[in-house]
């Protein structure tokens, strides 16, 4: 299967846009066009994918490199029902992130290049079927994240950018050690970097329990750091709080999903005995995500940090779904990844707008913004409802399947905690809506009559098409999946059913 794959376009579009931007093309427009192309393409792929039979489609495989001491590396692209939704997620969030960014941002060409690079990295990681590229592509995003937070970030950006970069680098290195260990622990003639080959081989010839129980925790910690598994979550809230909205959208919405995807694709199917052995640890840790992060979220006094912790908390659902390792739970995980990506991107984007327009992100100082900014209020409410798992928005479909799956796996107390998580989420999200949008309007957010008001900023709503289209797009996507989850399920479920060791 050496023919070219449409997936290649997904990588080429941002690449071409970056080159164009370096060649002095108008930055935001070019980036937006590339992102839009990707979005259209990924939607097209959703329809073209041979959903019914599952498995990989749009495969392209060409030998890439033979490194000494390593099995051959292939440039192997392909998507199945698990990665395709994530490709869509990447495309839509990238588009939103590009469009949301202010066009007159300083040093625009650099900014959009970094954003595109993040998008490229995430996209590449999801469509790669070779461990080497799977890993490398994800790392593409590390330095752009550092720079985006550092250059265009908000308060405390220096500390946050260093912390997020170093922490994630640590995670990546541990992950690298784990992946290497995985490949190297195989008998020499069976070693491969190819994910499909590895899956086939390891599902029939599992590694010895001893090596599995050493390698799995490496992968778990590596991926766990990247996704913010308790107690490795400390990088996320300050990082997201300081990041420019677009970067936070990309990272919280998309890049974090890489780790969950990695656990589904690599760690658990390939090291299933190790997983069985360590899953109780994972269960304890995910309780930490729910309860600990949930309580920390309740105590936050600023919107962005609250969202940061809440996104940590919601990773608990994904982990719970993973632990079930049955079709229902895993399908739920995939749906929920997309759903959480959309809602997190929305929330971070809107939080950026609120902070930008009101000049404030502390709950004590905000209030009554629904009057001057009704559209913002509506969209934020939608996003919060999605995050709370209100039916009709995408998250509910995923969460409910995770709950069902975990019952099916007899993880009843954990399911109970997870369901209780929706209560905690409701408490803090509703409180956020209330304090930001409801109540009397502080005088300084009254719409300004005269333009000469100086520094006193009248609160403005999302006015132009460009301002609200990205948010509306994300909301509509969430609503469509929420109302019609079967659209996505048809794609996801057959591929999930092909995973090995399903219970």
């Amino acid at each position: 299967m050496n023919s070219l794959s449409p997936l290649l376009l997904l990588l080429l579009a941002p690449l071409a846009a970056m080159v164009a931007i370096v060649m002095k093309a108008p930055a935001q427009r070019t980036a937006a066009i590339a992102a839009a192309l990707n979005l259209v393409l990924s939607i097209g792929l959703l329809f073209l994918y041979h959903a019914a039979q599952g498995g990989y489609d749009f495969v392209m495989d060409c030998p890439w490199a033979i490194l000494p001491g390593l099995p051959p590396i292939h440039f192997h692209l392909g998507v199945d029902g698990i990665s395709l939704p994530l490709v869509f997620l990447t495309a839509i969030v990238s588009f939103a992130a590009v469009v949301v960014s202010p066009g007159n941002i300083r040093r625009a060409p650099e900014y959009f290049c970094y954003l595109l690079l993040m998008s490229l990295g995430a996209m590449g990681a999801f469509i790669s079927l070779d461990l080497f590229f799977f890993y490398i592509f994800h790392e593409f995003a590390l330095i752009p994240t550092f720079l985006l937070i550092g250059i265009w970030g908000g308060q405390n950006r220096q500390f946050a950018s260093f912390q997020i970069t170093l922490y994630l680098m640590t995670g990546s290195l541990i992950l690298l050690a784990g992946l290497l260990a995985l490949v190297m622990a195989m008998p020499p003639d069976a070693r491969s970097f190819d994910i499909t080959t590895l899956q086939t081989y390891l599902s029939t010839h599992p590694l010895s329990l001893a090596s599995q129980s050493v390698i799995f925790p490496l992968l778990l910690i590596g991926f766990g750091i990247l996704v913010g598994l308790f107690p490795f979550h400390s990088w996320a809230p300050p990082g997201y709080a300081s990041a420019p909205p677009a970067a936070a959208m990309m990272h919280a919405g998309v890049l974090k999903k890489f780790a969950i995807y990695g656990l589904i694709r690599v760690a658990i199917p390939m090291l299933h005995d190790g997983f069985e052995q360590w899953k109780y640890v994972l269960l304890i840790l995910l309780l930490g995500n729910f309860i600990y992060a949930g309580f920390v979220t309740l105590a936050q006094k600023e919107l962005p940090t609250m969202l940061g912790f809440s996104s940590i908390m919601h990773m608990g659902y994904l982990f719970l779904g993973l632990v079930t390792w049955n079709v229902i739970g895993l399908t739920g995980v995939v749906i929920l990844m997309v759903a959480h990506g959309l809602s997190a991107a929305l929330l971070f984007g809107l939080s950026g707008e609120i902070t930008h327009r009101s000049g404030e992100n502390r709950f004590t100082e905000l209030g009554g913004l629904a009057k001057p900014a009704p559209l913002l209020a509506v969209l934020f409410s939608f996003a919060s409802m999605a995050s709370m798992g209100v039916p009709g928005l995408a998250n509910f479909a995923g969460e409910v399947m995770v709950f069902f799956g975990s019952f099916s796996a007899k993880l009843i107390p954990f399911a109970a905690v997870a369901i209780y998580g929706t209560v905690i989420t409701a408490i803090f999200q509703l409180r956020a809506i209330k304090t930001i949008f409801y109540g009397p309007i502080p005088a300084r957010y009254q719409p300004q009559s005269g333009a000469a008001a100086g520094e006193a900023t009248g609160m403005t709503d999302l006015n132009t098409l460009v301002e609200y289209v990205p948010f509306v797009l994300l909301t509509v996507a969430s609503l469509i999946i929420g109302f019609m989850p079967f659209l996505l399920l048809h794609i996801v479920e057959p591929s999930v059913s092909l995973l090995p060791f399903l219970k």
Partner: protein, 522 residues
Amino acid sequence: MLSSAYVPYLAPEMLLTVWAMLLLLADAFLSLTPRAMAALSLAGILSATLLTLGFNTTPLLYWGGLCSWDGAAKFYHVFFLAVAALVTWMADDVQKPVRSGASEFIILPLFTTAGLMLLSSANDFMLLFVALELVTISFYILVAYQRRSVIALEAGVKYLILGALSSAFLVMGVAYIFGLTGTTLFTSTTPGVDSIANHFHNDFPVGVAFGLLLVLTGIGFKIAMVPFHSWAPDVYEGAPNSITAFLSVGSKAGGLIMLIRVVLGVFDHSTAAAIWIPALSIGAILSLILGNLAAIPQRNLKRLLGYSSIGHSGFILVAIIAASATLTGTAYTQSPNDLTGQVAVAAYLVTYLLATFTAFIVLAVLERRLPGLEIHHLAGLSQRSPLLAAAFALSLISMAGVPPMSGFIAKFYVVLVAWNKGLYTLLGFTIFAAVAALYYYLGPIKTMYWSEPLDEAPIRVERTTRHVLVILMILLVLTGFWAQSISILVHNAVIGKGVPAASAVAVNKEPRRKQRGIADSE
């Protein structure tokens, strides 16, 4: 013993030396411009390179066994010539104020390079010592070349004293090894001829161990291994940029090939390995920790790179330890080439060369434009000169080992070989050091990209410099992403140790035990 058939292998060194002498004479009698001198010098380097490339890599000994020729020798020859080319170009193009009319700054590196090349194929402690001193003495001059600068002179003197000290240790060590084995020859192609490798298979006298450790002290100085590292930060800071790069890459590589030839070529059997593996492990761990941690508070860029260079030595030492055949591991056998520690070292050096020269070219350019080379002087560089900022950032990121830069591949290899050999403790330190390294490499990037420039004036970069930088940047990314490019370069960089003359066809994969069997049967 002297077989003229093998003389051509020495031709590149000879060519360089003779050419350098001719150039010195020409400088005395003709009034050549420095540019012409540099062009001539580069021409010499180019011809030496072409010569070297013409040789195949079949391992053999020549010159009566004083020199060896193998994949490693060829690789390091080319490597040093590449370094020399860059140094010469830098000396002419971006280091104008340093050379200040005198041509020795351009010509001396030729001698150094010849010495390094000789070092990479030495098979005898005597030759090794002479080659090493050729390198060291020419470096004394180069480091202190700006003799009106206090800093440069101070650096030169420090390098001089400590270098001489390490030479003394080295000679003393060699004396003991010689005394207890009766020879200075590493290995021999002829069973009848005495060589060090033919001794000590069952017992390993303390005296030889002592000698070996003294030799390691001398080599440790060259590669800036802790605790013999003290010179590095000071000399890096004081020397001209091109020379710092030369020291950092060339001299370090010279020390490493020396180390490989000694510990892997001669002393790589279980009783001796029990001596040097712990010693190098301690050195590696200390280098990783000290180099990377002490770099964190540094404010001077050259000094920072000096400390980081110590850290890099730590990484490479891990690979050398993993290269020991006495450690058993689970290497992958299906790929056409084995990944051995030696290959990892070579790969590391290639990526290190790219990154280091990129960094020092940028620093050399900036030296003339900025009030100093402290980190804070870089403020806003990305706006004053996007090219310089990008080049410097890429080189730092590569040194930090962030994918997909070429430095990642190097670290990847190191991790891989260490993993294969089960060196988990060293691996742990490696990962810790990598994170700490990222910390201080991010610092200058931060300053270049975030901080507001103190001076808005754009920095113009000359055309040649620009082109060289762009090429280096492309290589930095390309070699990382198309990782095979490095492996093509380095897959042969393996010493052909102890190959019996009878089967001179040989391969580097010849099992160790077999050689020992031959030696035992004598």
